[in-house]
């Protein structure tokens, strides 16, 4: 058998180990990095998932109690408009919880303290559909500094604007509550949030004065904007 054949066989075995959940965490992460880049490997994983899913044909069906369906619909739909606003603009799920709030530990820095000569690598225009609210964001990957500028619009009287970062399907993470009388803010993002920023989406929501009490957006989403490389 040729060397290439051996390699394919090995990939197939690795894909099987991955699907069965037999890899340790570092190996699984390394394998996932390859998956992202190699469509053929994704095909091997999909084939195993398809084969193993057939094992479920042997498992008898069992009707779940009605309470499960009620639980699903109340979790998904009872939160009402606030959740569906996010669904409509395609930003994915919102997890209301203290866990999100726990991530909101930011070192807020004043403008001018940032490392000199830093050139931003990512930017976003966070805008309402009618441009009545418009913020710009610039992010320097190396220093982790995020510069936000208010171009147009402001919070309603007695309310605050809160800025969120959403990465993939993750819950929105609060970036900051906008101080009502400022034009520009610069902050340094902690590493885990900075890592999530490229490819993420900013959103600005209307919140009670001082920001969301729950750690997740509670009010209308007023503006959104995707982070793009400069």
């Amino acid at each position: 058998m040729s060397g290439e054949g051996d390699m394919r066989e090995d990939d197939s075995v690795q894909a099987g180990e991955y699907v069965l959940g037999l890899m340790d965490a570092p190996s699984a992460r390394a394998f996932e990095a390859r998956l992202a880049a190699e469509p053929a490997l994704r095909g091997l994983v999909a084939a195993w998932e398809d084969d193993f899913a057939a094992l479920a044909a042997d498992i008898p069906e069992d009707a779940p109690p009605h309470s499960v369906w009620h639980g699903i619909t109340s979790e998904l739909f009872d939160a009402g408009e606030k959740r569906s606003i996010w669904a409509r603009i395609g930003l994915g799920q919102i997890l209301v919880g203290a866990a999100a709030a726990a991530l909101i530990a930011f070192a807020v820095m004043q403008a001018g303290l940032l490392s000199p000569g830093a050139t931003p690598e990512y930017r976003a225009e966070v805008a309402a559909a009618d441009q009545s609210l418009l913020f710009t964001a610039e992010f320097d990957n190396e220093s982790g500094s995020l510069s936000l500028t208010r171009v147009a619009g402001q919070a309603a009287p007695g309310r605050s604007l809160e800025i969120w970062l959403i990465a993939g399907d993750e819950a929105p993470v609060s970036v900051m509550v906008w101080p009502s009388d400022t034009e520009t803010e610069e902050i340094v993002l902690p590493a885990p949030i900075a890592a999530a920023l490229p490819g993420g989406t900013f959103a600005i929501s209307d919140e009670p004065e001082g920001g969301s009490p729950t750690g997740a957006p509670t009010g209308d989403v007023l503006a959104t904007g995707q982070v793009v490389p400069i």
């Binding site: 075995v13 180990e17 037999l22 998932e49 899913a53 044909a57 998904l76 399907d169």
Partner: protein, 180 residues
């Protein structure tokens, strides 16, 4: 059981926010996915919680279904299995000693497995039957009970590296058989 096309249609409409399609999808597939949860978790209460979380995930990720190129039941079963295994491993990590006893009692293929019509089974069942019994059982325990190499080595009383070699050879043989 609804046809593949019907289930695909339900998932596609879920991705557009159609709650009636979601209800139809639940009616068509929840008994199967609940069966999977029960088999993995071996507890009705936990399986009910898991099933709720699984359908929340399905609703929120319905737009990703097409991109994966899976058959709809494979997609649904894989979500359910992976979620249930995650729960099971979390339970084990927080010290479920009882778990071990339950699993030992459940280690056999199970009589109901033998009663299912051959036509409903995938080739995987035929191919597993070509492996020695203990090797096939190790593969099943990994898929349906989330057992790790360490768990399996302890269960079959072999060194972990031996178990790793067993499993890898089994996967190679299975793939050969599946591609025949």
């Amino acid at each position: 059981m609804s046809s593949r096309e019907e289930i695909e249609e339900h998932i596609a409409r879920c991705a557009l926010g159609d709650r009636e399609a979601f209800a139809a999808l639940y009616r068509a597939t929840s008994a199967k996915l609940f069966g999977v949860c029960l088999r993995v978790l071996n507890s009705r209460a936990e399986a009910e919680d898991a099933l709720q979380e699984i359908y929340v995930k399905i609703w929120r990720n319905a737009d990703r279904y097409k991109a994966g190129g899976y058959s709809p039941m494979t997609w649904l079963i894989t979500i359910a299995r992976n979620h249930a295994i995650d729960r099971l491993r979390a339970r084990r990590a927080t010290g479920g000693q009882m778990e071990e006893a339950e699993l030992v009692a459940d280690a056999g293929p199970g009589p109901e497995a033998l009663a299912i019509a051959e036509s409903e089974r995938g080739r995987i069942v035929t191919c597993l039957a070509e492996l020695p019994d203990d090797r096939a059982e190790a593969v099943r325990l990994a898929y349906l009970h989330g057992e790790t190499y360490a768990d399996l080595a302890a269960r079959f009383d072999v060194p972990i590296n031996t178990m790793r070699t067993w499993l890898r050879r089994s996967l190679m043989k299975l793939k050969e058989c599946l591609l025949r």
